[in-house]
């Protein structure tokens, strides 16, 4: 025999691992040889395991896994099912699964690639760092709230959450990530300002054995990470463009108002929209104007477009309600009630739905869910416990359309009047995943790492907790 001998619990673990690897009954003599065990030690261990049903010695000279092995697997599955049930938020209605949208699993090979994470396994509780790109819009606030909610929900697994905002500066975010590592973060959640400037620092995290979960934005092919939690931006942009094309019956002149030019989600949504609009030869795109996901800029841009094109604009594609509210207001101010506001796309923000419903504007939206922040926390906690996770997770969302404005290919999961919250603030982001009573203005949260129950979203960039 060669190699180190095994004793006690280590012997037992090695024996079980050997049988799991084989997946079939093994000769006792060969097990003893491969594990460098004396036959006496092996036989004693096997007898103990057989006595409780973990192993089976019914076949002479052989050892196999016993019935309790199956019970162990089923006990784990029961535990995971209960965790899963606690995680899944009930929907007001089942998703319609509009015919135009393809299943995400068929779209992205990374969605069905499972990443083994046993190398990251450590004993809880865990110190988590969240490097956030920016805190300059209601959507960013909701994302931070969602991550913080995760730290509270899983307080039995989280020892501290450290949130840092980079104010849309990649250099600052790289410094934030190094700061999180220096402060002892055992896992990172990153909503990336940009990808190339962060590659080296995330590689350093990987070298130190610290796993990273990308959330919302970041180019997974460029950034070292374990999993990417997002929502399918191509489908968001394409679905809203498809609705606009169909509601205009394939004819007319439209303007495209995408969000932030440097942000990958906005780029992908615009690509998705253009790919669909190309199938409507009767639609002319008058202009494409970036809006920084700002209602103020959305208003200014639309006012200028109205000066240029007047009543020629038949429809407005916005990739989010963050700027759609500005466009809607500009049209309402210009029209003075004289003419209907043309169909718009873009949701997310409660005010976008309020304006559309109040003024009878046809609107379609696919909310980009900040609930992905909570999901990212869950994925990171799975990784730190050594569980395998998908390489990519697309958080499901809803298609929302104003009543009577569904089209042949775009069926709503919710009507806008079912989705809007008249009782809650205009700047509420509706797909936060934080429950029906969530109010961003009164959101208070207590977790190790924050102070005075104040959310990190209320802290300006650069300020420490």
């Amino acid at each position: 025999m060669t190699g180190p001998s095994r004793r006690g619990a280590d012997l037992a673990i090695a024996l079980l691992e050997c049988l799991a690897e084989a997946g079939r009954p093994l000769r006792l003599s060969r097990v003893a040889a491969s594990l460098n065990l004396s036959r006496a030690s092996l036989y004693r261990a096997v007898a103990i395991f057989a006595g409780c049903g973990l192993l089976d010695r019914s076949r002479r000279g052989f050892v196999a896994l016993g019935p309790v092995a199956l019970k162990l697997a089923q006990a784990r599955d029961e535990m995971l099912r209960l965790e899963d049930a606690a995680r899944v938020m009930p929907r007001p209605k089942p998703l319609q699964r509009t015919p135009a949208t393809v299943g995400n699993l068929a779209c992205h090979p990374a969605s069905v690639a499972a990443v083994a994470c046993s190398v990251f396994r450590r004993a809880p509780k865990f110190r988590i760092g969240f490097a956030n790109a920016t805190i300059d819009s209601p959507w960013r606030t909701a994302l931070v709230h969602s991550v913080e909610f995760g730290a509270v929900k899983y307080r039995d697994l989280v020892s501290a959450l450290d949130v840092r905002h980079a104010d849309q500066c990649a250099a600052r975010q790289a410094a934030d990530i190094l700061g999180l590592l220096a402060a002892g973060a055992e896992g990172l959640i990153v909503s990336a300002v940009a990808s190339d400037p962060l590659a080296e620092v995330l590689l350093e995290a990987e070298r130190r054995g610290i796993p990273t979960v990308l959330v919302d934005r970041g180019q997974p092919e460029r950034l070292p990470h374990v999993s990417f939690v997002t929502c399918n931006d191509d489908v968001i942009g394409a679905t809203m463009a498809l609705w606009l094309g169909e509601i205009l019956e394939g004819r007319g002149r439209i303007v495209l108002l995408p969000g932030l030019a440097q942000a990958e989600p906005a780029q992908r949504r615009l690509i998705g929209a253009r790919s669909v609009l190309g199938g409507f030869p009767g639609l002319a795109v008058l202009a494409v104007e970036w809006t920084d996901w700002s209602g103020v800029k959305g208003y200014r841009v639309t006012r200028d477009l109205l000066h240029r094109f007047g009543d020629a604009i038949d429809g407005v594609w916005c990739d989010s309600g963050l700027q759609a509210v500005g466009s809607l207001r500009a049209f309402l101010a210009a029209k003075g009630g004289r003419r209907a506001v043309p169909p718009h796309t873009g949701g997310d923000l409660n005010l976008a739905y309020k304006l559309a419903v109040r003024h009878g504007v046809p609107l379609a939206a696919v909310d980009y869910p900040p609930a992905m922040g909570l999901r990212a926390v869950e994925v990171l906690l799975d990784i730190l416990r050594g569980r395998s996770v998908p390489r990519r997770i697309d958080v499901a969302t809803e298609i929302v359309v104003t009543r009577h404005h569904s089209t042949p290919s775009v069926k709503p999961d919710l009507w806008a009047d079912e989705h809007v919250r008249w009782d809650l603030p205009d700047d509420l982001i509706l797909a936060s995943g934080l429950g029906i009573s969530y109010d961003p203005r009164s959101f208070r949260v207590r977790y190790p790492g924050n102070r005075y129950n104040q959310s990190a979203a209320a802290r300006p960039p650069g300020a420490s907790a």
Partner: protein, 183 residues
């Protein structure tokens, strides 16, 4: 019993207890087994390092992925345990149908992994994919199945089948990449 034997015995009893009951604290396990806390905690540490136990969302000790792998290994499916755990929830989320990995034996079906969709009444539709099992003579069939309680249009059924095929393909690749070998 020798010290070596007692370590094996405590480990075996911990796993058998977790197979039978609820997740628990280390102290509660030690009390239930009548073993010294120091011995129990030492064995638990080793089991946790090896992945046979882990902490659930409440911080309690529960069977870990390596423990589940033992059950999968009974049917020659140890190679897909980790991937099945990771991918069945996303299959469920993508299709809003209950997703199951099961084996079909002469005695009936044994469900290894199940992630449930929201309850909604009588079952209205199923979709199944049989996993191709290399070198599987004498093994029961491994099945990936979706069950739904809501009306399913033709296009939705097509979408479910595509998502099912994507995950089944991923699991089959895990099986193919693992060749059985003698110890």
């Amino acid at each position: 019993m020798s010290a070596e034997g007692s370590g094996v015995a405590v480990l075996a009893r911990i796993l058998a207890t977790l197979a039978d009951g609820e997740p628990s604290t280390g102290a509660a396990l030690a009390r239930r087994l009548g073993t010294a806390r120091s011995t129990t905690f030492d064995v638990l540490r080793r089991l946790e390092q090896a992945g046979f136990v882990e902490r659930d969302a409440r911080g309690l000790i529960a069977p870990g992925p390596a423990g589940a792998r033992l059950g999968f290994a009974l049917f020659g499916l140890a190679a897909i345990e980790a991937a099945a755990e990771a991918l069945l929830p996303v299959l469920r989320d993508d299709t809003e149908a209950t997703a199951e990995l099961l084996v079909r034996t002469a005695e009936g079906e044994i469900v290894l992994v199940q992630r449930q969709a929201a309850p909604g009444g009588a079952e209205r539709g199923t979709a199944e994919a049989v996993l191709a099992m290399p070198l599987a003579a004498g093994r029961p069939d491994a099945i990936l199945r979706l069950r739904t309680c809501r009306p399913v249009s033709a296009s939705e059924r097509d979408r479910m089948n595509r998502s099912l095929a994507a995950v089944a393909g991923a699991l089959a690749r895990c099986l193919e990449s693992t060749l059985p070998r003698d110890p």
